[in-house]
Amino acid sequence: MAIDSTILEDVPADVAPALAAAAPNKRKLLFLRNSKALTGLAIMAFFGVIAVIGPWIAPYDPNAIGPDLLQPPSWSHWMGTTHTGQDIFSQILVGTRGVLVVGLTAGIIATLIGMVVGVTAGFVGGAGDETLSALSNIFLVIPQLPLIIIIAGQLPSAGGLTVAVIIAITGWAWGARVLRAQTLSLRKRDFIEAARANGERTWRIVGAEIMPNLTAIIAAGFVGTVTFAVLSQITLAFLGVTSVSDWNWGTILFWAQNNLALQRGAWWWFVPAGLCIALLGMALTLINFGIDEFVNPRLRSTGLRARDLRRRGIRPRIGFTPVVRETPAPGAAKEDQA
């Protein structure tokens, strides 16, 4: 639920101090060296693997009822069982695929729509821009979850991909708006004017000049949309609005809630599913942090170096430049003026 307001309005050009600019190659790798992004990517990869092999390595069929009713975690059932003896661990493993597939699909579709609408609006300007902006603002303001609920609720039974499409249709507006703002500010830049003056075709300018500069923002938007899609899907499943025969983590919670897992003290029924959601959500947010800090170097936290700074007595503050007189290395200082 983190709101990324750094890139809400027109984003100023990256202002890394000229003295500290790294070579272009180093900059790309810098993103990967960001520990937050790495952690996030690692967790995502883990879930990705599970999504692929989950149904194969699941010890039991998630639907299969068994003799051990409502058992806490044990060696035979790592995450315990439901009230009908189903193995919760298998349900989680199998459910991973549903979550990731819907999340990524919705993310991709929404990002594509957002890209088309946003970049077009920003680039074209005038009446086209006004119309597209009005459209995306409408979709932004109308509360998404209730809209999804009534659309999905009126369908006979909404399966995974249908849900993905519905989520995408209600959730593209945020990315579109951000991309429009960024395209607008890019359009005024000189290199675009130069391209236009050169007579380059519009689609070429958009494709070759503008898009590459938007990569980071698109990536951040994509990650944000996937987060939103995953949470929405889980919520819908939890409410029982979508089909409860497709396994995903939300369905597990649906059954848990409907069978009063809470009141029965069957914590193992609803804790693992929630933890998985939280982990996945956190992974996505971390990736977004990484992208944020990559785009806006000022945000990089001095956390790791805080210890060093404190040791040297440096407190970085605006308006009070730190004065630190350290013993110079031998031979480094100039001789004093006579």
Partner: protein
């Protein structure tokens, strides 16, 4: 409350030869808190005398703004001051080193002793406060007990001083043009009648007509109120008109420091010479413009010895090893009190390092 009763007013103080109001000694500044910081200023020394206009000139990135901001401790992170002192002498003769003041004392001294007019007035005014309020809060912070109406009166007076009508006190920054905003910044800087006014590229973003107006305004205000000015700009020709002394910076060091007309007619440093010959004069015979080949060095990877030697036509072997220091030029009968950092003018240092000194080229010995 009229201006004449405002405490501390000084009138028309003529520039005195050796009455320093600000002395920067051996200031060293780095950028970056990690293991490999960039040394942007290395042992820089500069003196500003009372009532004087000192011009600080140089290419972009030479460190002139950095010098001003470091001297007032306004350098943004990751700036770090690693050595030196900045001595301010008040009218009563008291001295204080700005770099050793406590936060509280520094705040109290700010704006009253020294004020800065920042580069780019576009962003220097708070967009959500009215102009008057931004002048008044400086007054309220430093003059305890000043009443609101007195403060606003003074604000209105200050605006008129810089040629803006007093009713603009209630305007927001976005309602003013670029030139007006710049003048508001000047008015704001003068609010507490500081002794030193540092102006960082005040005319760079303006058109020529506005430039002239601002420069004339500053000159007039200086005559009236008698403060000293450090005028930072890359436009040397402008300085020649308005400055008493000019200091030229290159790659984080001061390379020449002399009276304005000396720098213009009789430069002693190869860089100054090159700079001045890059400007076509409006009158006089046509001559070939030379410019200076090459570009300023990357401060994170400075060459040894003199930073200018790669672009200097007078460089010799010692230049790669010995770093020049500011000394009097090696020209007989030269104006006293000027200095230059060039090994051609410093045979003593050259000999001490074991090289053969080279004579001063004719162009630099006019």
């Amino acid at each position: 409350m009229s201006v004449s009763t405002f405490p501390g007013a000084a009138r028309g103080v003529a520039p005195t030869a050796a009455d320093p109001v600000l002395e920067i000694r051996n200031l060293s500044v780095e950028y970056g808190y990690d293991e490999n910081p960039t040394k942007v200023l290395r042992d820089v020394s500069l003196t500003l005398n009372r009532g004087e206009v000192l011009g600080l000139a140089g290419e972009s990135g030479c460190g002139k703004s950095t010098l001003a901001y470091a001297a007032t401790r306004l350098l943004p992170p990751p700036g770090l001051i690693t050595g030196g002192s900045v001595i301010f002498r008040g009218r009563d003769g008291g001295e204080q080193d700005i770099l050793t003041l406590s936060d509280k004392d520094l705040r109290a001294s700010r704006w009253q002793d020294m004020a800065i007019v920042f580069q780019g007035a576009m962003n220097s005014l708070n967009p959500v406060h009215r102009i008057g309020r931004q002048i008044v809060d400086a007054l309220q912070a430093h003059v305890p007990g000043i009443s609101r109406s007195d403060a606003y009166d003074r604000a209105a007076h200050l605006l008129e001083l810089v040629g803006i009508s007093a009713d603009r006190v209630r305007s927001y920054p976005h309602q003013l043009s670029g030139g007006m905003r710049q003048r508001v910044m000047i008015a704001m800087a003068l609010a507490l009648e500081p002794q030193v006014l540092i102006m960082d590229e005040p005319t760079t973003a303006l058109d020529v007509v506005m430039q002239r107006q601002i420069v004339e305004q500053i000159a007039e205000l200086r005559d009236r109120l008698g403060f000293s000015v450090i005028f930072i700009t890359h436009d040397v020709s402008l300085l020649i008109e308005i400055a008493d002394r000019i200091a030229i910076m290159y790659a984080g060091e001061i390379v020449e420091d002399a009276h304005a007309h000396d720098v213009y007619r009789r430069p002693r440093h190869p860089y100054s010479d090159g700079l001045l010959h890059s400007f076509p004069p409006l009158r006089g015979p046509r001559r070939e413009l030379t410019g200076i080949p090459g570009s300023p060095p990357d401060l994170s990877r400075l060459p040894t010895g003199c930073p200018f030697r790669d672009r200097c036509e007078f460089a010799f072997d010692a230049c790669a090893t010995v770093t020049p220091r500011l000394t009097a030029p090696a020209v007989a009968g030269d104006t006293p009190g000027r200095s230059v950092a060039c090994l051609r003018h410093d045979p003593a240092a050259v000999t001490a390092a074991g090289f053969t000194p080279q004579p001063v080229p004719d162009r630099l010995a006019l």
